[in-house]
């Protein structure tokens, strides 16, 4: 049997399976009569289950079902963002400031005419000029505006939140709630709010930041004490990456649990 026949057989089997699933799900479990909302609900649940399984099928190997689901996802999300952007920003923010007629047409309360709202409108139109091969260069004006303002905005905020505040956050006491060596050992505890943990946290913050910065210092060769600190720095970085990787595993498993719960509960009804 050749490949295309196999493809047809699989396609028919898949379509039949999901049609049957749709039909079964359309019937309410307790004696209620079949209704339009239940048919619609069943259709969406079945479609969602199909798309989920189509994406999962990539784990076996790349196939047309996966490609279909992926393109559907990309297309739908792009269109969704565009529609929401249009209604929330264009209709929600711009129209009420430039035209009472259009505000009435779109059903939003008209505020007052504000001439400077034409500036973003013109920049927006310039951005769309990208679609034209001749006037494409005009979009650079709008892009330059976006890049410039974002860079300016980010520079100050980053400097403040990620630089100045973070630098001052490294000023930490090495001895927390210190009442002497005797008390430290007699009250020793590994609890997350305990003295030892708090002190360890501060030591790690200080040494980690210090050595991490030295690792990223490129103007001096990493030899001697400097080299040792840099090695500690890379160790700290690697531990951070390990933690990050562990967290990612947790995140991915959560997403898998979410999808499986949908399949088992919403679609197949296997759970209570």
């Amino acid at each position: 049997m050749n490949g295309s026949r196999w493809t047809m057989i699989v396609l028919i089997a898949v379509v039949t399976l999901f049609l049957v699933s749709w039909a079964i799900k359309s019937f309410p479990s307790s004696g209620d009569t079949i209704s339009w909302p239940s048919i619609r609900h069943a259709f969406f649940v079945t479609l969602a289950a199909f798309v989920t399984l189509a994406i999962f099928s990539f784990l076996y190997k790349d196939n047309p079902y996966y490609k279909f689901a992926e393109h559907l996802f990309v297309g739908v999300s792009a269109a969704y963002w565009m529609c929401v952007g249009f209604w929330s920003t264009f209709v929600g923010n711009l129209i009420p400031r430039i035209s009472p007629g259009l505000s009435k047409f779109f059903g939003v309360p008209y505020k007052e005419f504000t001439f400077y709202y034409f500036v973003p409108l013109i920049l927006g139109i310039l951005l769309l000029m990208r679609l034209s091969s001749k006037a494409g260069w005009l979009s650079r004006w709008a892009l330059a505006f976006i890049v410039g303002t974002t860079a300016g905005l980010n520079l100050i905020r980053y400097l403040r939140s990620d630089f100045i505040s973070q630098v001052s956050n490294t000023f930490v006491p090495l001895l927390v709630q210190w009442k002497g060596t005797g008390a430290f050992f007699s009250d020793f505890s590994l609890a997350s709010g305990g003295q030892f943990t708090l002190m360890l946290t501060n030591w790690v913050i200080f040494i980690g930041t210090f050595c991490g910065l030295i690792y990223f210092f490129f103007s001096k060769e990493h030899k001697g004490v400097f080299g040792a600190a840099s090695r500690v720095g890379i160790w700290v970085l690697m531990i951070t990456f390990g933690a990050s990787f562990g967290y990612t595993v947790m995140g991915r498993v959560s997403l898998l649990v979410g999808r499986l719960t949908f399949l088992f509960d919403d679609w197949l009804g296997l759970m209570n």
Binding site: F163, I164, T170, P173, F206, F210, L213, F241, S244
Partner: protein, 411 residues
């Protein structure tokens, strides 16, 4: 004169109020219920201080006061305070805000839009009084009227001085080092192990007779990571041209592709082999993230390149790419400034340039004044940070807290 009169009034009230309440209690022994219903009024707030709110664009006044003696003590019946404002000491006073019991201050912010009903004009006199309220709406105490006060804006926000200082220092450093680099000064950048790895990998590819795959990532042509990646691509292409090894550069962004083509072409010319350069070494794939990944993965599994180099901006596709490359048995070298993706490259690649190392590698190889100057400026900024951190840390551990306050940015 007015103030003295008000003070006298307040004094009379302060003396009369306890007498009055005492009298009420004595006057009504008839019904226990009635005695409970008329709860005594709390003491008013005192010492109201008004000032224009600092470091703002105007249209705002800051109030502070000493809480009522019955707030959390005494009669303990205060549930909050109401801030009232008027344009003259006689009123009419309008309620501006309510704050919970225990509050010592409030910032009365109005709108700067003249059309707004909440508009608060600058440079006119405002008067305030604070009403101490209890659970019983009929029982409250009013403070004396405070004022006048005018609101106005400031040209400079002194609260942001630390930011200004840091921006100025960093800009000065950057300009200084870029100038020096342009002037041909020999600025030292330590050799990076990753660069050596690139050279080795090219050698290995030559030995095996297999091509090198170079991925520029998903960044646009303007991303610094992509710009850094061009320099490294230039170096790789030059070596590849010298050794006569194959080079494959699939691109995600059409503009990135154009620049990459120019870079590779120039490198082949530099190596003295312009004839070996072929247009289809650098090609455009697609601008859909996962479709791009699928295409690159296909190339990895079909052409089995000896070395895969990933330099630039990467997102969720990083692990998929690196894992497929590892599966195909290629040597892999990666570099990205996307911190979230570095762990994936670290686990799946033989060598990873972490964050800034990517820029450093590019500056080291290209000696481009702009990159080199910025890198040096960053290095000195880092040295500054280390120094500040050390000083702050030592001072704090010796009980001096004041240094930390300098880093406080007020708004």
């Amino acid at each position: 004169m007015k103030r003295q009169f008000l003070l006298l009034l307040l004094l009379c009230f302060a003396v009369a109020a306890p007498l009055a309440t005492a009298q009420t209690a004595e006057d009504s022994p008839l019904s226990g219920e009635a005695a409970v219903a008329v709860s005594p009024a709390p003491g008013p707030v005192s010492n109201i201080q008004l000032k224009d709110t600092d470091n703002d664009h105007g249209h705002s006044v800051t109030l502070s006061w000493e809480i009522s003696p019955d707030d959390g003590a005494g009669l303990n019946n205060v549930i909050g305070y109401e801030i009232h404002r008027a344009l003259s000491p006689e009123g009419p006073f309008v309620k501006r805000a309510g704050v919970p019991a225990g509050s010592h201050s409030h910032v009365d912010v109005g709108s700067k839009e003249e059309s707004s009903p909440d508009y608060m004009k600058d440079y006119i006199d405002y008067y305030y009084k604070i009403r101490t309220i209890t659970a019983d709406s009929a029982v409250n105490a009013e403070s004396t009227v405070a004022g006048p006060i005018q609101s106005y804006g400031q040209w400079f926000n002194t609260g942001r001085v630390p930011v200004l200082i840091f921006v100025a220092c960093f800009l000065a450093l950057t300009l200084y080092f870029i100038n020096r680099a342009k002037g041909g000064a020999d600025l030292y950048v330590r050799p990076l192990a990753g660069i050596g790895a690139v050279d080795e990998a090219i050698g290995r590819a030559t030995e095996m007779g297999k091509p090198i795959l170079y991925v520029l990532g998903l960044g646009t042509a303007a991303d610094i990571a992509t710009i850094a990646s061009y320099t490294i691509l230039g170096r790789v292409a030059k070596k590849v041209a010298e050794y006569q090894t194959g080079l494959i550069v699939p691109c995600y962004d059409p503009i990135v592709m154009t620049v990459a083509q120019e870079t590779v072409k120039a490198s082949y010319a530099d190596a003295g082999r312009p004839d070996s350069y072929k247009e289809d070494m650098v090609y455009f794939v697609t601008q859909s993230q996962f479709a791009y990944v699928a295409a690159v993965n296909g190339t990895m599994l079909r052409d089995l390149p000896a070395t895969n180099i990933y330099m630039g901006k990467f997102y969720a596709e990083s692990l998929i790419l690196a894992e497929t490359g590892a599966l195909a048995g290629s040597i892999q070298i990666a570099g990205t400034d996307e911190i979230a993706q570095i762990p994936f490259f670290v686990v799946a690649c033989d060598y990873t340039l972490i964050g800034e190392e990517l820029y450093a590698a590019s500056a080291y190889l290209g000696r481009e004044p702009l990159l080199l100057g910025s890198l040096k400026a960053q290095d000195y900024a880092k040295a500054g940070v280390i120094l500040i951190a050390l000083v702050g840390f030592i001072l704090l551990n010796f009980g001096v807290d004041g240094f930390k306050e300098f880093f406080f940015v007020s708004n």
